[in-house]
Symmetry: C2
Subunit: 139 residues, 2 copies
């Protein structure tokens, strides 16, 4: 459903939202806790920073923190820099335009499901996912 990169991004944002209350969280710590490659993650987090989702500080005590409160951070903002989760994904048969008027064969039956997926990413916030449950092994 999500690319590996977007999945890393989402898992990281959840971790930072949880651990980052007392200060920035470092790439090394995140990479180790999530079990993902350090340098690859560094680039991914840099993209999130450029997208305004995270902010970074260098030097001792540095790391990443949320640039937006978790309650106002919607999943689409975390995922968008990596995966297209919006309109482009909606036509099952890959049409450039696929609307009620210019519908592909799957449009009518797929519509509700495709819109549910898009709505999930657009409406759900990071804070809402955090409430789902706590525990160290959860990510």
């Amino acid at each position: 459903m999500l690319s590996q990169t977007a999945e890393y991004a989402l898992r990281t944002v959840l971790l930072i939202a949880e651990r980052g209350v007392a200060g920035p969280v470092g790439v090394d710590q995140i990479a180790q806790e999530l079990g993902v490659p350090r340098n690859y993650l560094s680039k991914t987090l840099h993209q999130l920073a450029r997208a305004g989702v995270l902010s970074s500080t260098r030097g001792p005590g540095g790391g990443f923190r949320l640039a937006v409160p978790a309650a106002r951070l919607r999943l689409v903002r975390v995922i968008e820099p990596f995966d297209d989760v919006g309109a482009g994904r909606r036509c099952l048969l890959g049409r450039p335009v696929c609307s009620d008027r210019t519908a592909c064969r799957a449009h009518g039956r797929w519509k509700a499901t495709g819109e549910a997926v898009a709505a999930f990413f657009q409406d759900t916030t990071v804070a809402e996912l955090l409430r789902e449950g706590a525990g160290a092994a959860r990510a």
Copy 2:
């Protein structure tokens, strides 16, 4: 949502279901009508044949036809050889197992949507999509 290859497969099956009533449809014709690369499509259709979705005949007058009646051919059978559309796709955060008991952070909120996607592919048949509408440009 679907890989390019799975999209080709689905579009081809829809075309064959429509055009193939009077006999096999050739790769050249399909490739031209759908605007997809001929040899790549040939390999893709071969995979569908091995999966029991299509049957092929060689020689003059040959081509591909459905190996299963459209009304009994569910989309999951067309897509499965290329994309994982089932359980593996269900955990947003990429966990190997993610159930109600061992839930990731996104599980509770994602569950209904993820299941709706899986159900769409499992329940919808090719014949149902064909009924959506007719017309040459539709695929």
